[in-house]
């Protein structure tokens, strides 16, 4: 099941052959697609449309909690860096 990617330009095509395996287009899942992206013209990443829409609609007053939420993640980044 494809959720992070979508099939495009598939007219007249039934499969991809990669690494000696013929993979029917309807059997490509997210894990396979992540491997194949950039190696074929029939796969595209699904744009994360929901996140920016929420950010645009969010009132200005809610920016403070968002800033707080970012702080711990910054801390985690440092920890992972070590």
């Amino acid at each position: 099941m494809l959720t992070l990617f979508k099939l495009v330009n598939t007219k007249g095509l039934k499969a991809l052959n990669f690494g000696g395996d013929t993979i029917p287009l309807d059997q490509i899942d997210d894990a396979l697609a992540a491997k194949l992206i950039g190696k074929t013209h029939v796969l595209e990443r699904v744009a994360p449309t929901t996140a920016p829409a929420v950010a645009q609609l969010a009132p200005v007053a809610e920016q403070a909690p968002a800033a707080e939420a970012e702080a711990p993640s910054a801390g985690r980044k440092k920890a992972s860096g070590n």
């Binding site: 330009n9 007219k11 007249g12 095509l13 039934k14 499969a15 991809l16 052959n17 990669f18 690494g19 000696g20 013929t22 194949l36 950039g38 190696k39 074929t40 013209h41 029939v42």
Partner: protein, 180 residues
């Protein structure tokens, strides 16, 4: 355009190195929408060959251990180029195979073969395809071969058959016969 590639030492790998060809895919060059430029090494295609809508590669089956990719340099010093070849043998003579032969005459092809080390080699390129030749023999006696030798070949290339590391798009209708 003359592509300059640095000359470096050839290093021999000690891992297994079997011969043989296991996959053959064929497409007409006129059905290619975009043929990618090679990578900086001038021998690897890491981007996909994009066919025109409705077109794509079709698989050709052939007898085991009869497929081979060849390339060799030809011409005198100062006029050298590379000849590319892909050969297979298809056993049996029947109407379906012969219909493909009829349709493939005078065609201009891009063919992909996968060697036993897993390398997909592409014969033909954006500017120059490979032509198709065949030689069918019914055999004279019971122990003779009854089938067709196929050869895709092209001369005058400035490069070896490319190493193709992207995915091949496979056409829905499994036949190479689509007009002439």
């Amino acid at each position: 355009m003359c592509v300059q590639v640095p000359i470096e030492a050839i290093e021999i790998d000690s891992c297994p190195n079997p011969g043989g060809l296991t996959d053959l895919h064929v497409m007409r060059r006129r059905d290619v929408l975009t043929f990618p430029d090679p990578d900086d090494d001038n021998v690897t295609l890491s981007k996909a060959i994009v066919p025109k809508p409705g077109a794509g590669f079709v698989p050709w089956e052939f007898a085991t251990d009869t497929g081979e990719v060849n390339h060799k340099s030809t011409g005198d010093a100062g006029n050298q180029s590379i000849t590319q070849e892909l050969n297979t043998y298809v056993p049996r003579g029947d109407a379906k195979i012969d219909a493909v032969i009829n349709a493939a005459l005078n065609g201009d092809f891009i063919v992909a073969g996968r060697d036993s080390n897993g390398n997909v080699r592409i014969c033909g390129d954006k500017n120059r395809g490979v032509k198709f030749e065949h030689d069918y023999k019914s055999g004279k006696k019971g122990s003779d071969k009854n089938g067709t030798d196929f050869k895709f070949s092209g001369e005058g290339f400035g490069h070896v058959p490319y190493y193709y590391t992207a995915a091949l798009p496979i056409k829905a209708a499994a036949t190479v016969v689509s007009g002439s």
